[in-house]
Protein backbone atom coordinates (compact mmCIF):
# COMPACT_ATOMS: atom_id res chain seq x y z
CA UNK A 1 0.00 0.00 0.00
CA UNK A 2 2.68 2.45 1.07
CA UNK A 3 4.79 1.32 -1.88
CA UNK A 4 1.95 2.18 -4.28
CA UNK A 5 1.69 5.63 -2.74
CA UNK A 6 5.44 6.14 -3.06
CA UNK A 7 5.33 5.11 -6.71
CA UNK A 8 2.42 7.48 -7.35
CA UNK A 9 4.35 10.27 -5.67
CA UNK A 10 7.49 9.61 -7.71
CA UNK A 11 5.38 9.36 -10.85
CA UNK A 12 3.83 12.76 -10.17
CA UNK A 13 7.09 14.40 -9.12
CA UNK A 14 9.23 13.46 -12.12
CA UNK A 15 7.47 14.16 -15.40
CA UNK A 16 9.98 12.24 -17.53
CA UNK A 17 8.59 9.51 -19.74
CA UNK A 18 11.53 7.08 -19.38
CA UNK A 19 11.31 7.41 -15.62
CA UNK A 20 7.56 7.01 -15.59
CA UNK A 21 7.76 4.09 -18.02
CA UNK A 22 10.23 2.40 -15.72
CA UNK A 23 7.94 2.88 -12.71
CA UNK A 24 5.01 1.43 -14.63
CA UNK A 25 7.05 -1.56 -15.79
CA UNK A 26 8.58 -2.26 -12.40
CA UNK A 27 5.55 -1.69 -10.21
CA UNK A 28 2.21 -0.78 -11.76
CA UNK A 29 2.06 -3.70 -14.23
CA UNK A 30 2.70 -6.14 -11.39
CA UNK A 31 0.64 -4.57 -8.63
CA UNK A 32 -3.04 -5.72 -8.44
CA UNK A 33 -4.03 -2.63 -6.53
CA UNK A 34 -2.55 -0.28 -9.14
CA UNK A 35 -3.98 -2.34 -11.98
CA UNK A 36 -7.40 -2.02 -10.40
CA UNK A 37 -7.14 1.72 -10.99
CA UNK A 38 -6.75 1.17 -14.72
CA UNK A 39 -9.32 0.21 -17.32
CA UNK A 40 -9.19 -3.42 -18.37
CA UNK A 41 -8.69 -4.51 -21.97
CA UNK A 42 -12.36 -5.50 -22.24
CA UNK A 43 -13.62 -2.22 -20.81
CA UNK A 44 -11.41 -0.20 -23.13
CA UNK A 45 -12.32 -2.38 -26.10
CA UNK A 46 -16.03 -1.87 -25.46
CA UNK A 47 -15.62 1.87 -25.92
CA UNK A 48 -13.50 1.66 -29.04
CA UNK A 49 -14.48 0.96 -32.62
CA UNK A 50 -13.80 -2.72 -33.28
CA UNK A 51 -12.57 -4.28 -36.49
CA UNK A 52 -15.63 -6.53 -36.75
CA UNK A 53 -17.91 -3.54 -36.29
CA UNK A 54 -16.44 -1.69 -39.25
CA UNK A 55 -18.26 -1.83 -42.53
CA UNK A 56 -16.47 0.06 -45.24
CA UNK A 57 -19.05 2.45 -46.58
CA UNK A 58 -17.13 3.62 -49.62
CA UNK A 59 -15.70 1.19 -52.16
CA UNK A 60 -12.20 1.65 -50.82
CA UNK A 61 -10.45 -0.57 -53.35
CA UNK A 62 -12.12 1.20 -56.30
CA UNK A 63 -10.96 4.57 -54.99
CA UNK A 64 -7.44 3.34 -54.31
CA UNK A 65 -7.22 1.72 -57.74
CA UNK A 66 -8.44 4.83 -59.57
CA UNK A 67 -6.00 6.98 -57.59
CA UNK A 68 -3.15 4.61 -58.50
CA UNK A 69 -4.15 4.57 -62.18
CA UNK A 70 -4.31 8.37 -62.23
CA UNK A 71 -0.98 8.46 -60.46
CA UNK A 72 0.65 6.08 -62.95
CA UNK A 73 -0.80 8.14 -65.85
CA UNK A 74 0.69 11.27 -64.39
CA UNK A 75 3.97 9.45 -63.86
CA UNK A 76 3.99 8.29 -67.50
CA UNK A 77 3.40 11.87 -68.66
CA UNK A 78 6.18 13.04 -66.39
CA UNK A 79 8.47 10.36 -67.82
CA UNK A 80 7.64 11.43 -71.36
CA UNK A 81 8.26 15.07 -70.51
CA UNK A 82 11.52 14.08 -68.88
CA UNK A 83 12.58 12.03 -71.92
CA UNK A 84 11.76 14.85 -74.34
CA UNK A 85 13.64 17.28 -72.15
CA UNK A 86 16.65 14.95 -72.14
CA UNK A 87 16.45 14.60 -75.92
CA UNK A 88 16.26 18.37 -76.30
CA UNK A 89 19.31 18.83 -74.10
CA UNK A 90 21.25 16.24 -76.08
CA UNK A 91 20.23 17.98 -79.30
CA UNK A 92 21.54 21.28 -78.02
CA UNK A 93 24.76 19.67 -76.85
CA UNK A 94 25.40 18.00 -80.21
CA UNK A 95 24.60 21.19 -82.14
CA UNK A 96 26.90 23.27 -79.93
CA UNK A 97 29.74 20.76 -80.26
CA UNK A 98 29.33 20.70 -84.04
CA UNK A 99 29.41 24.49 -84.14
CA UNK A 100 32.53 24.65 -81.97
CA UNK A 101 34.30 22.08 -84.17
CA UNK A 102 33.30 23.99 -87.29
CA UNK A 103 34.56 27.35 -85.99
CA UNK A 104 37.82 25.81 -84.71
CA UNK A 105 38.45 24.09 -88.02
CA UNK A 106 37.76 27.31 -89.89
CA UNK A 107 40.18 29.29 -87.72
CA UNK A 108 42.88 26.64 -87.98
CA UNK A 109 42.57 26.08 -91.69
CA UNK A 110 42.45 29.78 -92.49
CA UNK A 111 46.18 30.15 -91.72
CA UNK A 112 47.09 27.31 -94.06
CA UNK A 113 45.24 28.52 -97.11
CA UNK A 114 47.54 28.85 -100.23
CA UNK A 115 47.06 32.62 -100.50
CA UNK A 116 48.44 32.99 -97.05
CA UNK A 117 51.73 31.43 -98.11
CA UNK A 118 54.01 34.24 -99.29
CA UNK A 119 54.27 34.07 -103.04
CA UNK A 120 57.67 34.10 -104.76
CA UNK A 121 56.64 37.15 -106.72
CA UNK A 122 56.32 39.15 -103.60
CA UNK A 123 59.93 38.54 -102.62
CA UNK A 124 62.10 41.53 -103.54
CA UNK A 125 64.45 40.75 -106.51
CA UNK A 126 67.88 39.69 -105.41
CA UNK A 127 70.96 38.09 -106.91
CA UNK A 128 71.97 34.69 -105.62
CA UNK A 129 74.96 32.50 -106.34
CA UNK A 130 75.21 29.24 -104.51
CA UNK A 131 78.88 28.69 -105.23
CA UNK A 132 81.53 29.44 -107.76
CA UNK A 133 84.20 26.96 -108.67
CA UNK A 134 87.39 27.59 -110.58
CA UNK A 135 89.28 24.51 -111.80
CA UNK A 136 87.00 22.29 -109.77
CA UNK A 137 87.84 24.13 -106.56
CA UNK A 138 85.73 26.68 -104.65
CA UNK A 139 86.71 30.08 -105.98
CA UNK A 140 87.56 33.23 -104.13
CA UNK A 141 84.55 35.30 -105.25
CA UNK A 142 83.70 38.94 -104.91
CA UNK A 143 80.27 40.29 -105.78
CA UNK A 144 80.01 43.97 -106.51
CA UNK A 145 76.99 46.12 -107.30
CA UNK A 146 77.44 49.83 -107.76
CA UNK A 147 75.00 52.03 -105.90
CA UNK A 148 71.87 52.93 -107.82
CA UNK A 149 72.69 50.45 -110.59
CA UNK A 150 71.17 47.13 -111.59
CA UNK A 151 74.58 45.97 -112.81
CA UNK A 152 76.15 43.23 -110.72
CA UNK A 153 79.75 42.33 -111.22
CA UNK A 154 81.06 38.98 -110.08
CA UNK A 155 84.78 38.56 -109.90
CA UNK A 156 86.10 35.09 -109.22
CA UNK A 157 89.67 34.11 -108.68
CA UNK A 158 91.35 30.83 -108.01
CA UNK A 159 91.98 30.17 -104.37
CA UNK A 160 95.62 30.16 -103.59
Amino acid sequence: MSRCKTVELFYALVPLKPWRGNLIRRHVEKCPRCLAGLASREAAGSLLVQERGVNIGRPLWAEVESALVADSGGKRMKDQAFQSSVMRRWGWAVATTFLVVLVTAFLLLRDFRPERIPAATNVPPRFELEYIRVSGQPANAVVYQPQGSNLIVVWAGKNP
Binding site: P18, R20, N22, I24, G37, L38, V54, G57
Partner: protein, 182 residues
Protein backbone atom coordinates in the same frame (compact mmCIF):
# COMPACT_ATOMS: atom_id res chain seq x y z
CA UNK B 1 -2.60 -16.73 -49.71
CA UNK B 2 0.47 -15.98 -47.64
CA UNK B 3 1.19 -12.34 -46.82
CA UNK B 4 4.74 -12.48 -48.15
CA UNK B 5 3.49 -14.00 -51.41
CA UNK B 6 1.01 -11.16 -51.78
CA UNK B 7 3.75 -8.62 -51.18
CA UNK B 8 6.00 -10.33 -53.72
CA UNK B 9 3.13 -10.32 -56.21
CA UNK B 10 2.58 -6.60 -55.63
CA UNK B 11 6.25 -5.94 -56.20
CA UNK B 12 5.94 -7.76 -59.53
CA UNK B 13 3.10 -5.36 -60.38
CA UNK B 14 0.14 -7.73 -59.82
CA UNK B 15 -2.78 -5.46 -58.93
CA UNK B 16 -4.90 -8.45 -57.93
CA UNK B 17 -2.48 -9.17 -55.09
CA UNK B 18 -2.60 -5.60 -53.98
CA UNK B 19 -6.40 -5.69 -54.02
CA UNK B 20 -6.24 -8.67 -51.65
CA UNK B 21 -3.92 -6.74 -49.34
CA UNK B 22 -6.34 -3.80 -49.34
CA UNK B 23 -9.28 -6.08 -48.58
CA UNK B 24 -7.38 -7.91 -45.85
CA UNK B 25 -6.25 -4.80 -44.02
CA UNK B 26 -9.01 -2.29 -44.73
CA UNK B 27 -11.18 -3.28 -41.72
CA UNK B 28 -8.44 -3.19 -39.05
CA UNK B 29 -7.00 -0.03 -40.61
CA UNK B 30 -10.44 1.61 -40.61
CA UNK B 31 -10.99 0.65 -36.97
CA UNK B 32 -7.67 2.18 -35.94
CA UNK B 33 -8.23 5.32 -38.04
CA UNK B 34 -11.73 5.80 -36.61
CA UNK B 35 -10.39 5.41 -33.09
CA UNK B 36 -7.69 8.01 -33.74
CA UNK B 37 -9.68 10.48 -35.82
CA UNK B 38 -13.11 9.97 -34.34
CA UNK B 39 -15.11 10.10 -37.55
CA UNK B 40 -15.73 7.86 -40.50
CA UNK B 41 -15.11 10.27 -43.41
CA UNK B 42 -11.67 11.28 -42.23
CA UNK B 43 -10.88 7.65 -41.44
CA UNK B 44 -11.82 6.58 -44.97
CA UNK B 45 -9.65 9.35 -46.44
CA UNK B 46 -6.76 8.32 -44.22
CA UNK B 47 -7.16 4.67 -45.26
CA UNK B 48 -7.22 5.59 -48.92
CA UNK B 49 -4.03 7.62 -48.50
CA UNK B 50 -2.55 4.75 -46.51
CA UNK B 51 -3.02 2.17 -49.25
CA UNK B 52 -1.73 4.51 -51.96
CA UNK B 53 1.35 5.11 -49.86
CA UNK B 54 1.75 1.39 -49.16
CA UNK B 55 1.67 0.67 -52.89
CA UNK B 56 4.22 3.38 -53.64
CA UNK B 57 6.63 2.44 -50.89
CA UNK B 58 6.26 -1.32 -50.82
CA UNK B 59 9.82 -1.66 -52.09
CA UNK B 60 11.13 -0.04 -48.93
CA UNK B 61 9.23 -2.44 -46.64
CA UNK B 62 11.60 -4.40 -44.42
CA UNK B 63 10.55 -8.07 -44.52
CA UNK B 64 11.94 -8.67 -41.03
CA UNK B 65 9.33 -6.32 -39.65
CA UNK B 66 5.65 -7.12 -39.18
CA UNK B 67 3.69 -5.98 -42.23
CA UNK B 68 0.70 -5.06 -40.10
CA UNK B 69 2.92 -2.92 -37.87
CA UNK B 70 4.35 -1.22 -40.93
CA UNK B 71 0.84 -0.46 -42.22
CA UNK B 72 -0.24 0.85 -38.82
CA UNK B 73 2.84 3.10 -38.64
CA UNK B 74 1.95 4.70 -41.97
CA UNK B 75 -1.71 4.98 -40.99
CA UNK B 76 -0.82 6.62 -37.68
CA UNK B 77 1.24 9.25 -39.54
CA UNK B 78 -1.60 9.88 -41.99
CA UNK B 79 -4.04 10.28 -39.11
CA UNK B 80 -1.75 12.78 -37.41
CA UNK B 81 -1.65 14.74 -40.66
CA UNK B 82 -5.45 14.75 -40.74
CA UNK B 83 -5.61 15.98 -37.17
CA UNK B 84 -3.13 18.76 -37.96
CA UNK B 85 -5.13 19.78 -41.00
CA UNK B 86 -8.33 19.75 -38.96
CA UNK B 87 -6.73 21.89 -36.26
CA UNK B 88 -5.41 24.38 -38.81
CA UNK B 89 -8.74 24.72 -40.55
CA UNK B 90 -10.48 25.14 -37.18
CA UNK B 91 -8.02 27.91 -36.29
CA UNK B 92 -8.59 29.56 -39.64
CA UNK B 93 -12.36 29.46 -39.23
CA UNK B 94 -11.98 30.84 -35.72
CA UNK B 95 -9.87 33.71 -37.03
CA UNK B 96 -12.42 34.47 -39.68
CA UNK B 97 -15.10 34.55 -37.00
CA UNK B 98 -17.25 32.04 -38.81
CA UNK B 99 -17.54 29.36 -36.19
CA UNK B 100 -21.31 29.30 -36.48
CA UNK B 101 -21.03 28.23 -40.11
CA UNK B 102 -18.96 25.23 -39.11
CA UNK B 103 -21.18 24.14 -36.26
CA UNK B 104 -24.41 24.38 -38.19
CA UNK B 105 -23.71 23.03 -41.67
CA UNK B 106 -26.31 22.99 -44.39
CA UNK B 107 -26.07 19.23 -44.78
CA UNK B 108 -25.24 17.80 -41.39
CA UNK B 109 -25.32 14.20 -42.60
CA UNK B 110 -22.35 14.78 -44.91
CA UNK B 111 -20.42 17.86 -43.79
CA UNK B 112 -20.51 17.08 -40.10
CA UNK B 113 -20.46 13.32 -39.87
CA UNK B 114 -21.55 11.72 -36.63
CA UNK B 115 -18.67 10.75 -34.41
CA UNK B 116 -17.98 7.08 -34.20
CA UNK B 117 -16.21 7.33 -30.86
CA UNK B 118 -17.67 8.45 -27.56
CA UNK B 119 -16.93 12.15 -27.32
CA UNK B 120 -15.36 11.68 -23.85
CA UNK B 121 -12.60 9.61 -25.41
CA UNK B 122 -11.87 12.22 -28.05
CA UNK B 123 -11.80 15.06 -25.58
CA UNK B 124 -9.87 13.43 -22.79
CA UNK B 125 -7.37 11.29 -24.64
CA UNK B 126 -4.59 12.55 -26.89
CA UNK B 127 -4.13 10.98 -30.33
CA UNK B 128 -1.10 9.05 -29.13
CA UNK B 129 -2.99 7.73 -26.14
CA UNK B 130 -5.95 6.70 -28.30
CA UNK B 131 -3.59 4.92 -30.70
CA UNK B 132 -1.80 3.10 -27.89
CA UNK B 133 -5.10 2.14 -26.30
CA UNK B 134 -6.60 0.91 -29.55
CA UNK B 135 -3.56 -1.20 -30.42
CA UNK B 136 -3.49 -2.65 -26.93
CA UNK B 137 -7.22 -3.31 -26.58
CA UNK B 138 -8.10 -4.33 -30.14
CA UNK B 139 -4.90 -5.92 -31.38
CA UNK B 140 -3.38 -7.13 -28.12
CA UNK B 141 -0.15 -5.26 -28.82
CA UNK B 142 2.58 -5.02 -26.19
CA UNK B 143 4.30 -1.76 -25.23
CA UNK B 144 7.21 -2.71 -27.47
CA UNK B 145 4.93 -3.23 -30.49
CA UNK B 146 3.05 -0.02 -29.77
CA UNK B 147 6.37 1.84 -29.61
CA UNK B 148 7.20 0.62 -33.12
CA UNK B 149 4.00 2.11 -34.48
CA UNK B 150 4.30 5.37 -32.55
CA UNK B 151 8.04 5.56 -33.28
CA UNK B 152 8.98 6.13 -29.66
CA UNK B 153 10.61 4.15 -26.88
CA UNK B 154 8.80 1.30 -25.15
CA UNK B 155 8.81 3.33 -21.92
CA UNK B 156 7.06 6.21 -23.60
CA UNK B 157 4.49 3.86 -25.16
CA UNK B 158 3.91 2.36 -21.72
CA UNK B 159 3.23 5.84 -20.32
CA UNK B 160 0.73 6.66 -23.10
CA UNK B 161 -1.08 3.41 -22.49
CA UNK B 162 -1.07 3.88 -18.73
CA UNK B 163 -2.48 7.40 -19.01
CA UNK B 164 -5.15 6.28 -21.47
CA UNK B 165 -6.26 3.40 -19.26
CA UNK B 166 -6.33 5.63 -16.19
CA UNK B 167 -8.41 8.30 -17.92
CA UNK B 168 -10.88 5.74 -19.22
CA UNK B 169 -11.22 4.19 -15.80
CA UNK B 170 -11.96 7.61 -14.32
CA UNK B 171 -14.50 8.36 -17.03
CA UNK B 172 -16.21 5.02 -16.51
CA UNK B 173 -16.32 5.51 -12.74
CA UNK B 174 -17.78 8.98 -13.12
CA UNK B 175 -20.42 7.48 -15.40
CA UNK B 176 -19.65 10.06 -18.01
CA UNK B 177 -22.73 10.54 -20.16
CA UNK B 178 -20.82 11.12 -23.37
CA UNK B 179 -19.08 7.78 -23.01
CA UNK B 180 -22.17 6.07 -24.36
CA UNK B 181 -20.97 4.58 -27.62
CA UNK B 182 -22.42 5.90 -30.88
Amino acid sequence: MDEQELIAGCLRGRMEDFRMIVERYSAPAMALAMNILGNRDDAEDACQELFIQVFRHLKSYDKDRSFKNWIYTILYRRCLDHLKRRRRSAELVKKMGRETVMTTPANPGHSHPPRSLPSGLLEQLKAKERTALCLWANEGYTAQEISEVLRCSASTARVYLFQARKKIKNLLEQGHVSLQNG
